[in-house]
Amino acid sequence: MILGVGIDIENHSRFLKYISPNCNPEFLLSVFTKDELDNYRKFKNHLCYAVSFSCKESFLKAFGVGWNNSKIQWTNIELLFNEPPENKNTNIRISGIAQKLLGEYNTNTSFLYNYSIDNSVVVFESILTCKKK
């Protein structure tokens, strides 16, 4: 059974500034976790930030909330890349209030996700599902 679907589109050129050495680390830490930032810095690729931000937005939509009207924090949804973002080899970690919310839906809740990158945008889709009893 599908509990929620979230789709987000981000123009990835907006994230170029995040790989600049002048980018404010405090700002980055308010949206991304330290693990995420360590992971993205390895790839030196702004697409990591764009895909990750889109992932967070997409999951918030699947939960049926917005970042500014729920207690879910940006850092509750983490996306880590095992390979460069174009290769789509990733892991997602859900924690905090988001994890609690996932458990409240149903103990058998799980999620699916996919994303695509073209010349200008990242499209991220996520689906929350649970097994029928």
């Binding site: 981000e10 907006r14 404010n24 405090e26 700002f27 308010s30 949206v31 931000f53 937005e57 917005g66 970042w67 500014n68 009207n69 729920s70 207690k71 879910i72 924090q73 940006w74």
Partner: protein
């Protein structure tokens, strides 16, 4: 925390209008308090976050995103006027804005 003077009020308004005019490629004169950030300007959460960061730096504010998130649960920000109002509250009360949340 700072006392919000008329000068600060005017500065905040100016920063907000300039920011959205540039980001959303609209004339500043087309933006007013009742302009809807998402419907009229096609604004998004990334712009919102970046604007908060601009104010944090400018006024050296101690404010966490999660506090703003909690505040917004009761006080949703949809228009430019609501955004300016929230920003002035943050400048005045920083992380204590939650006490000014509507019940």
């Amino acid at each position: 925390m700072a006392i919000v003077t008329n000068q600060i009020k005017e500065e905040v308004r100016q920063i907000v209008l300039e920011f959205f005019a540039e980001e959303c490629e609209v004339e500043m004169s087309d933006i007013n308090d009742s302009t809807h950030i998402f419907d009229d300007l096609d604004g998004d959460s990334l712009m919102f976050l970046e604007l908060i960061e601009i104010f944090k730096k400018k006024y050296n504010l101690n404010i966490e995103l999660k506090t703003i998130g909690k505040f917004n649960v009761k006080n949703p920000v949809r228009t430019i006027g609501e955004l300016i109002h929230m920003q002035l509250l943050i400048i005045e009360h920083e992380n204590n804005i939650i006490s000014f949340s509507k019940i």
